[in-house]
Symmetry: C2
């Protein structure tokens, strides 16, 4: 069977899921959760094969971390299934409704997209997270998970399909085109009219290629060159803890901190404490001239550092004259993912919230909160850094479309 | 100045409009309304030049009708400005909000896209409608209105820019790249990062070219191969009036009726009345075998007729065995714009509403109601036939994005 035929199977099956009950969709997710736990050892064994190849191929520590599934992470996936079950079904929700002066009754109602495509790399958790959210939102899925996670994905797709069948749904609702290599991805981006939306997740290069070549509408999920700006009125303890947590808690993720900006008024008071705490956790500081003067262990930053998404225990640090310069720096280098201000000034906080043009803008909190799970979405499809359709962490409702239902009694237009 | 430089000017100016007050944006629209009326004669004179060339070039009657602006239509544009003024400003609206267990306060807030691009043909009303909606939603606009409406668009863009200046806003907020011919459009579809969303309106060929080549996210506005299905329980009077209104009231629009499906049980009772009323208004019937037998004035339909968007006083008519066959026909030939069932059966109405996968699905009303003005949106950006971001008539809120504002007090992730 060709990749195109698999995509057509997904499209054909999608109609049955669009009218499936919430009870049936939730049953499928519960079955998947059970199977994830039951087959945990098989998943870990398959994952070990992928991890071994990753080491041989010299994948970065960040990518290896993303690739890895252990008991705890598999339990996390199963837990996500239960959380998605507990979320309200978005399908059928009336978003807007009105009666026109002529008596026509309009209702804008949430409906499934139909078929959701995902192209990603070395992130087996995406296989389960995207599929579960897509299925709950009434969509079929077509997956291209890449060769690095090949064995893990085969094991996971089998579980997803078995879960569907146990719930009386078609196994065709989850398709993988991994067996076709690059041609699988080519078939997906050409499948306008069959796949309704494509979500690429992975390296900047992968996302750019999909965005530029796809004839199917794409939701760009982004690179996170995220910033924290420590204002002159910042709480010193919050500054130390927020920056440390943002950088160190899981550096391989797109919501990890990459560039720290600090008001010059606190560069000799707060900044040294912040940097010491980071250095104690093994973070390498790439500092501008002022930072290197204050903190001799820092290495000198180059222009590249301001655009770097390290995915590692590295951090670019720059001292700025104040909020204006911080906003300018962010406007120039941000990937519009997540930016944070640490401040006690309400005026500065409001200006930062209003003027920073990013998907998520925060005051006094860690960048790591930009996450579907943290936002209460149960799991995450990815974090949209484009402005069309969805922005920021995407959950169930971001995997739906709408349609207008109009009920009349013979109305004609004047 | 190059087309790219003009796009950059729009981008630069967009920041100021994003934080402009509703009062100031409404003032600009009121000024534009005044100028449209004041310069009505100049607009009509410019339009006459375009109409003369259209005749020489042999443009279809449908396109000539779309191109034409007279006193009444200009008054309609000015009236739209007042209607858009009276609509609530979408910017700043909180769409969702929640407090996380750790005390973080989240608010998903409506923000402008930034820069909206429109590529269209021979529809000078689009110049004003899209610009007014985009400006009220806080966006700059870049327009490529095509050569057929060249003179009219020059006059209209001047009015838009003057209106902005009178309201103390930058004239850079409305840009036209018409002076660069096809290169203007090429610059627009390549302007990823500068233009946030592109809306093509015009022929199927134009839309397809933009969708396939654009690196900027596109909202596809569609072709309308719309259907009315007369069920066996249909009210005969409603059937006659809804079909007549849907086809005849303004045949050059995308929401005009193109294919009529009729249940065989009423093909000898209701159908002849429907067809007589149409023929009296000069409609040519392209009928299947059964229709031609019933109505000898009909010409025999070919396979092409079922996919035809006539934009003229032509109608394809087919007798079907019942609802199932009607649904099958629609699934095969529809462009997912608007479909109507005329029925007295609640079960059939609900099935039609649930199973037809179109932007607007109606019961007992004319297809012509699929329209931003009719829906109460003040004017219309176009009718989206894709499922991403917007579906059906697009108004103010469809020209916005969102961002997440997060307010914390030192929270870090566990």
């Amino acid at each position: 069977m060709s990749a195109l035929e698999k995509i057509k199977l997904a499209k054909k099956a999608s109609g049955s899921l669009a009218i499936a009950s919430t009870i049936q969709k939730n049953d499928a997710l519960e079955q998947i959760a059970k199977l994830l736990v039951a087959f945990e050892k098989d998943i870990v064994a398959a994952n070990l094969k992928d991890l071994e190849r990753a080491k041989t191929d010299g994948l970065s520590a960040g990518l290896q971390d993303r690739l890895m599934l252990n008991t705890e992470r598999i339990a996390g996936l199963a837990k996500s299934m239960h959380e998605i079950v507990s979320l309200p079904d978005p399908i059928g929700e009336a978003i807007r409704g009105m009666t026109l002066p002529n008596g026509l009754k309009l209702s804008e109602t949430r409906v499934p997209f139909g078929v959701v495509g995902a192209i990603y790399e070395a992130r087996p958790n995406v296989t389960v997270d995207i599929s579960a959210l897509a299925l709950k939102a009434g969509n079929a899925v077509v997956l291209r998970g890449g060769t690095a996670a090949e064995n893990t994905n085969i094991a996971l797709v089998k579980i997803l399909q078995q879960g569907l069948v146990k719930a009386g749904l078609s196994s065709d609702l989850v398709q993988t085109v991994d067996d076709f290599g690059r041609e699988g991805a080519s078939a997906m981006i050409a499948a306008r009219g069959l796949i309704d939306v494509l979500i690429p997740r992975g390296s900047a290069g992968l996302i750019k290629a999909v965005v530029e070549d796809s004839k199917v509408p794409v939701i760009e999920t982004g690179d996170g060159v995220t910033h924290v700006y420590i204002d002159d009125s910042a709480n010193p303890d919050w500054s130390v803890e927020i920056v440390h947590n943002s950088k160190v808690q899981r550096p391989s993720t797109c919501n990890a901190l990459e560039t720290l900006l600090v008001h010059e008024a606190v560069s000799k008071t707060i900044l040294p404490k912040v940097l010491k705490r980071l250095a104690d956790s093994g973070v390498t500081i790439h500092g501008d001239k002022e930072t290197c003067a204050i903190f001799p262990a820092a290495v000198a930053a180059t222009e590249q550092d301001w655009s770097a998404e390290y995915y590692s225990l590295d951090l670019a640090v720059k001292v700025v004259a104040g909020l204006d310069q911080a906003l300018e720096h962010i406007a120039k280098y941000s990937t519009y993912h997540t930016e944070v201000i640490i401040t006690d000034s309400s005026a500065h906080a409001e200006r930062f919230l209003a003027e920073v043009d990013s998907a998520v803008v925060m005051v006094n909190a860690a960048t790591r909160f930009t996450d579907g799970g943290q936002f209460g979405f149960g799991a995450e499809v990815g974090i949209s850094t484009q402005k069309l359709h969805a922005r920021g962490p995407m959950g169930l409702s971001e995997l739906t479309s709408t349609k207008w239902l109009v009920r009349g009694s013979g109305q004609t237009r004047i």
